[in-house]
C-alpha cells in the first residue's frame, strides 16, 4: 500500500469508529437496529480488509482481491437492510400510505435488481467488471428507492424524523456518486480488458481514482451522520390517531370530482 492509500484507509476508518461510538452512545441499537448493523458492518469490513492486506499484500494478491469484493457484498446487504428499515419506520404508522407504497417500491426494487443481475452476467470478468456493474446497479437502485420514498413522504407531509432523513440523504449521496464513479471506471476497465493492452500503471491509476472518489463520498456520508449524532436525538414521534375509514371514502371522490371540474373549466377557458 502506498502512503496515499494508507491515508485514505485511515481517514475512513477513523470516521467509521467515531460513527460506531456515537451510535452506541445514542442507543440506536434499539431504535434503528439495521442501521446499527450497517455501521458495524462497514467498520468490520474495513478492519478485516486491512488485516487481510497486512497478511496477503494489496496488489496482485488474489485472496485480497476476492476478500475485498466479498466484504463489500456484505456492506451492500447491510445497506439494503437499512433502506428497508427506513421505509418501514417512515410509512408503517400510516397504514393507508404504507399499503399504497410498498407494492410500488417492491416492484421498482425487483425491476432494478433483475436489471443489475442481467447486466452483470454479461461481463467478461465476473468479479471485477461484473462486480462493478452489479454494485453500480445496486447503487442506482438504492438512490431511486430512497428518493421515491422521501418524495412520497414529502408529498403526503409525513413527519420524517431528522435521523431517518439524514441517513437516507447520506446513503443517496454516496450511492449517486458511486454510481457515476462505477459507470465511468467500469467502461474503462471493460475497454482495457477487451483490448488487452492495459498496462499495470493504467489499471493502478484507475484503482487509485476509484478509491479516492469512494473515500470522499464515504467521508461525506459518514461525516453527516456523525454530525447529526453529536447531540442527543429527540424522542421518536408518537403514532398518529387515524380517521375513521368512511371519511376518506366519502371525501376523496368528492375532492377529485371538483378538481376534475376545475381542470375541465380551465381547458374550456383556453379553448374559447
Amino acid at each position: 500500500m502506498t502512503h496515499y492509500e494508507l491515508f485514505l484507509t485511515a481517514s475512513i476508518t477513523g470516521l467509521e469508529i467515531l460513527l460506531c461510538i456515537l451510535v452506541w452512545i445514542r442507543h440506536l441499537q434499539s431504535r434503528l437496529p439495521f442501521f446499527t448493523g450497517y455501521a458495524v458492518t462497514i467498520l468490520a469490513a474495513t478492519l478485516s480488509q486491512m488485516y487481510v492486506i497486512a497478511i496477503y499484500g494489496y496488489r496482485g494478491s488474489v485472496t485480497t482481491f476476492y476478500y475485498i469484493w466479498i466484504s463489500y457484498g456484505c456492506v451492500l446487504l447491510a445497506r439494503s437492510a437499512t433502506i428497508l428499515e427506513l421505509f418501514r419506520d417512515i410509512f408503517k404508522p400510516y397504514p393507508g400510505i404504507w399499503g399504497l407504497t410498498w407494492r410500488l417500491l417492491a416492484v421498482l426494487t425487483l425491476i432494478l435488481l433483475v436489471h443489475g443481475a442481467m447486466d452483470a452476467q454479461g461481463q467478461i470478468n465476473w468479479l471485477a467488471a461484473g462486480g462493478l456493474t452489479l454494485e453500480r446497479d445496486v447503487d442506482i437502485a438504492s438512490f431511486l428507492i430512497l428518493a421515491t420514498m422521501l418524495l412520497i413522504g414529502n408529498y403526503y407531509h409525513l413527519p420524517i424524523e431528522s435521523i431517518h432523513k439524514w441517513i437516507a440523504l447520506g446513503i443517496c449521496f454516496f450511492c449517486v456518486i458511486e454510481y457515476a464513479n462505477s459507470s465511468v471506471l467500469r467502461n474503462l476497465l471493460a475497454q482495457y480488458m477487451s483490448s488487452g493492452v492495459a498496462t499495470k500503471a493504467q489499471v493502478d491509476r484507475i484503482n487509485d481514482l476509484w478509491n479516492t472518489i469512494y473515500t470522499a463520498a464515504s467521508a461525506a456520508s459518514l461525516g453527516s451522520w456523525c454530525y447529526l449524532l453529536r447531540k442527543p436525538l429527540p424522542e421518536p414521534a408518537k403514532h398518529p390517531v387515524l380517521l375513521p375509514a368512511g371519511v376518506y371514502q366519502e371525501l376523496s371522490p368528492a375532492i377529485n370530482l371538483r378538481l376534475r371540474a376545475l381542470n375541465d373549466h380551465l381547458e374550456e377557458m383556453l379553448r374559447s
Binding site: 404508522p93 400510516y94 397504514p95 393507508g96 400510505i97 399499503g99 399504497l100 438512490f143 422521501l150 418524495l151 414529502n154 408529498y155 403526503y156 407531509h157 409525513l158 413527519p159 420524517i160 424524523e161 440523504l169 443517496c172 449521496f173 449517486v176 456518486i177 454510481y179 457515476a180 464513479n181 459507470s183 465511468v184 467502461n187 474503462l188 481514482l209 472518489i213 414521534a237 408518537k238 398518529p240 390517531v241 387515524l242 380517521l243 375509514a245 371519511v247 376518506y248 371514502q249 371525501l251 376523496s252 371522490p253 368528492a254 375532492i255 377529485n256 371538483r258 378538481l259 376534475r260 371540474a261 376545475l262 381542470n263 373549466h265 380551465l266 381547458e267 377557458m269 383556453l270 374559447s272
Partner: protein
C-alpha cells in the same frame, strides 16, 4: 477518463435536484390541529371571497368608460394594471386550490385504507392543473383571455371550499380529543 468529471457533475446535480424537490415541498407543517379549527382557518380558501370586489374592478362598464373618456395612454396603463390584478387574483385562487388539494392528501395520510386509483387520479389532476394554470396565466398576461372567464373558475373553487368546510366540521366532531399528533413532527 475525461467523462468522469461530467459524470460527477451529473451525480451531484441529481442529488441537488432531490434536495430541491424536498425543500420545495416544505411548507408550514399541517400539524396537530391540521384538521381542527385554527389550522383549517389558515388553510381553507380565502381568495375566492374577494371576487365581488375584483369583479367590480374589472367590470365591463369600467372598460367602456376607459375607452370613451380617458386618454389612450392612461387607458392602456389602467388595462395593464387591471390584468395584473386579475393575475394576482388567479394566483390566489391557485393557493386556494392547493390548500384544498393538500387537505385531501392529509386525509389520505390519516386514513387506514387508501384507494390507489383515487390517489393516482388526484396526483394527475394536480399536475394537469399546474400545466393549465400556466397556460391560463400566460393568456391572461398577453390579453388574449376575457376577464369574465375567471368568474366561473371562482365559483368552482368557492363551492369546493364550502363542501370542505362542512366536511371539516364533521371530522372535528368525530375526534373529541382534537389531537392529530401524527402530523406533528
Amino acid at each position: 477518463m475525461s467523462s468522469l468529471p461530467i459524470a460527477m457533475l451529473l451525480a451531484i446535480a441529481a442529488f441537488a435536484g432531490l434536495l430541491w424537490l424536498l425543500r420545495k415541498g416544505k411548507r408550514p407543517a399541517k400539524t396537530a390541529g391540521a384538521l381542527n379549527s385554527q389550522e383549517i382557518t389558515g388553510s381553507r380558501p380565502r381568495h375566492y371571497r374577494f371576487f365581488p370586489q375584483i369583479r367590480q374592478a374589472l367590470s365591463t362598464a369600467d372598460e367602456e368608460y376607459l375607452r370613451k373618456k380617458v386618454p389612450a395612454d392612461i387607458a392602456q396603463r389602467v388595462r395593464r394594471e387591471r390584468r395584473a390584478v386579475a393575475r394576482k387574483f388567479l394566483s390566489g385562487l391557485r393557493e386556494d386550490f392547493s390548500n384544498l388539494e393538500q387537505m385531501g392528501r392529509m386525509i389520505a395520510a390519516l386514513s387506514p385504507d387508501v384507494n390507489h386509483a383515487q390517489e393516482t387520479e388526484r396526483l394527475s389532476l394536480r399536475l394537469k392543473f399546474q400545466f393549465l394554470y400556466a397556460l391560463v396565466w400566460l393568456s391572461l398576461s398577453t390579453g388574449r383571455m376575457p376577464l369574465r372567464q375567471i368568474e366561473h373558475l371562482t365559483g368552482l373553487v368557492g363551492s369546493l371550499a364550502l363542501r370542505m368546510e362542512q366536511a371539516m366540521v364533521r371530522i372535528n366532531a368525530l375526534t373529541p380529543e382534537q389531537n392529530f399528533h401524527g402530523l406533528n413532527a
